[in-house]
């Protein structure tokens, strides 16, 4: 009988993930263009991992995960562009405030959503949809933040401190820094999922009433996962605007929330690595064939998504990973 512990342990073992990351380390060999592209794919992968935690492992179907991504991005932009004060313009501070800001917002929002006889399942999905809609409309009209045009000229990541400066605008070094961050997050998430907290999370996801009877504080557990997910999304967003040097409403909007949902659903929401790979995969395919297919790309994506939900509810990549020999199922 598959219980929480076996489910948690059935996630892809660490070596497979590390192998993928090692493989990605070879990307710069393909030249500057692809290095830059993959830098962005990495961050989308990070973003997808955040949703995988929130949705796949905590069972919170959030239609607006991009709000945390975009929030992190805008905070990073505001701080590093000196809009909050020249003396505060530092990449480290920007990242810290972006992550903290996203986490704080998630904490408040999550509390509102999960408190008491909290929202769950489809009702939660609809409400998060409405909230995402609200946020997109709001940012689009917020002139101080550039409204629909966004904020351009966001400075790249600056690794320096104490007066020294080392800006990351060369593709290869930037790629490796991002890869390093993503690797750390991946390992941490993997450990988290396999840890006692991960087991409890799965228990809460599968049967919240029973978990509550056992004395678990369902609200705080859900909130913790939601906040961590938001923090990761915020981190991804902050890193993204520093890489793209541009913050726009599309980062907080509906379109991106939908896209990340599709990536994670296609890949496999319960397996962090699958979600990560799917994000990279879909973006890569779009990068390669997008020009070719033009407007048909979105149509094809929608159709594939539909088919995947009906035929492969666990996700294409996750289903494939589960079939690999030696996998414990």
């Amino acid at each position: 009988m598959s219980g929480p512990r076996t489910q948690a342990a059935a996630a892809v073992p660490l070596p497979a993930g590390l192998a993928v990351l090692a493989g990605l380390a070879l990307v710069p060999l393909a030249g500057d263009y692809w290095t830059d592209q993959f830098a962005r794919y990495l961050l989308f992968g990070l973003f997808a991992m955040s949703l995988s935690l929130v949705w796949g492992r905590a069972g919170i179907l959030c239609f607006g995960q991009a709000m945390f991504f975009g929030l992190g991005g805008y905070i990073m932009a505001v701080i590093t562009m000196g809009m909050a004060g020249e003396w505060l313009a530092s990449s480290y501070l920007g990242l810290a405030v972006a992550v903290a800001g996203a986490a704080l917002f998630a904490g408040l929002l999550g509390y509102f959503l999960f408190w008491g006889r909290g929202l769950s399942g489809p009702y939660l999905a609809i409400v998060t949809l409405a909230i995402a809609f609200i946020l997109e409309q709001s940012i689009n009209s917020w002139y101080a933040l550039g409204a629909a045009n966004g904020l351009s000229g966001v400075p790249p990541l600056d690794l320096g401190a104490f007066g020294l400066s080392y800006e990351l605008w060369e593709p290869a070094p930037r790629f490796y820094v991002l890869l390093g961050i993503v690797a750390v997050v991946y390992v941490a998430l993997d450990r988290l999922v396999a840890s006692p907290f991960g087991v409890v999370l799965t228990a809460v996801k599968t049967n919240p009433e029973r978990a509550a009877h056992f004395g678990y504080q369902v609200l705080w557990i859900r909130l913790a996962a939601f906040v961590v997910g938001a923090a990761l999304a915020g981190l991804a967003g902050a890193l993204f605007v520093a890489t793209d040097e541009f913050a726009s409403p599309t980062l907080i909007g509906f379109g991106l929330s939908t896209e990340v949902l599709i990536w994670v659903a296609l890949g496999g929401k319960e397996v962090v690595l699958a979600a990560f790979l799917a994000a990279i995969g879909v973006r890569l395919v779009e990068g390669v064939f997008g020009e070719l297919l033009g407007d048909y790309w979105i149509l094809a994506l929608g159709l594939v998504f539909m088919a995947s939900v009906v035929l492969f509810p666990r996700g294409l990549i996750a289903t494939a990973l589960a079939r690999l020999p030696g996998r414990r199922r």
């Binding site: 179907l61 509102f112 959503l113 006889r117 929202l119 399942g121 489809p122 009702y123 999905a125 609809i126 409400v127 949809l129 409405a130 909230i131 809609f133 609200i134 409309q137 709001s138 009209s141 509906f254 939908t258 949902l261 599709i262 659903a265 407007d295 048909y296 979105i298 149509l299 994506l301 929608g302 159709l303 998504f305 539909m306 939900v309 009906v310 509810p313």
Partner: protein, 284 residues
């Protein structure tokens, strides 16, 4: 005074259209546990049917008659190809129909282009009572909407078909045990729900800008109406639609449409959180 009357009437027309859209949604959800995120796109398809029909030179009313037929057929195909595989898998239906909505939106973009269209109202006349002037088409729209809503309630609550439908909603296994073909019920209900949405879209077309994104702007308030109203399956929609639609219209007196919509959504979410059973109670 005349202004107030116009505002109230505008409010009423918005509420009525919202109720029409929400009715289709709630019937499908109550009956098959399917949350149809593409319902807004079906509404959109109704409007585009009118656009397409007008392009052939046929009159507006031909488009309005064609819309429920066309969209109903689309609904039939959707039910057969997608929905029937995911009955009662509510969370999966959200995702699958979300994918469908993306595909439908893009299909429309491919055929009609991303820009918006406007449809001319068939009646340019206005009703004039002293100081008060109001477009006749809007009044006609409201009359038709009221008739449709009343018809839906009539069919649901007073006919044998409605009795069977409500039985299937309440206890599907027991209904099947009595000889009722639940599959046929599902198919019919889904088709009717989509046809009504298409008709609503067609009727509203002259009043708004017809573009591929218009569906979401009606889908979310429709959902919120259902959740706010509670009870149901039908009475709650009336109340919820009234509350959500009415508040939106009232707020546009003082706020811009964008801000008003934001405010309404936020308020609706608050109500849903603070009173999960909905205004009429006993929702979950």
């Amino acid at each position: 005074m005349a202004d107030l009357a116009a505002i109230l009437l505008n409010s009423l027309s918005y509420v009525l259209v919202l109720i029409l859209v929400a009715l289709g949604l709630v019937i499908v959800f109550g009956m098959m546990g399917v949350i149809n995120m593409a319902h807004g796109e079906l509404f959109m398809l109704g409007a585009y049917t009118v656009v397409a029909v007008e392009r052939t030179g046929a009159p507006f009313w031909a488009g309005v008659l064609a819309a429920p037929v066309v969209v109903g057929l689309v609904g039939l195909v959707i039910e057969w190809a997608l929905v029937r595989h995911i009955y009662r898998r509510t969370l999966d239906t959200i995702l699958a129909t979300w994918g469908l909505s993306i595909a439908l939106k893009q299909a429309v973009v491919l055929v009609f282009g991303p820009a918006s269209y406007s449809v001319t109202a068939p009646l340019q006349a206005s009703l004039t009572i002293g100081d008060f002037v109001y477009p006749a088409y809007r009044l006609l729209l409201m009359a038709v909407a009221v008739a449709l809503i009343a018809l839906t309630f009539l069919v649901f609550l007073r006919t044998d078909f409605g009795l069977q439908a409500r039985a299937v909603i309440a206890r599907p296994d027991t209904a099947a045990g009595l000889g009722i073909d639940t599959r046929r019920m599902y198919r019919l209900s889904f088709t009717i729900g989509t046809a009504v949405a298409g008709l609503a879209g067609a009727l509203v077309a002259p009043l708004i800008s017809v573009d591929p994104q218009m569906g979401l702007g009606y889908l979310i308030p429709a959902f919120l109406s259902i959740l706010v109203g509670g009870a149901g399956p039908l009475a709650g929609v009336l109340v919820g639609g009234g509350v959500v639609g009415g508040t939106d219209s009232l707020l546009t007196i003082w706020l811009s449409p964008v801000v008003a919509q934001i405010a309404v959504f936020a308020l609706a979410i608050l109500v849903i959180r603070l009173r999960p059973e909905g205004v009429l109670g006993s929702r979950r």
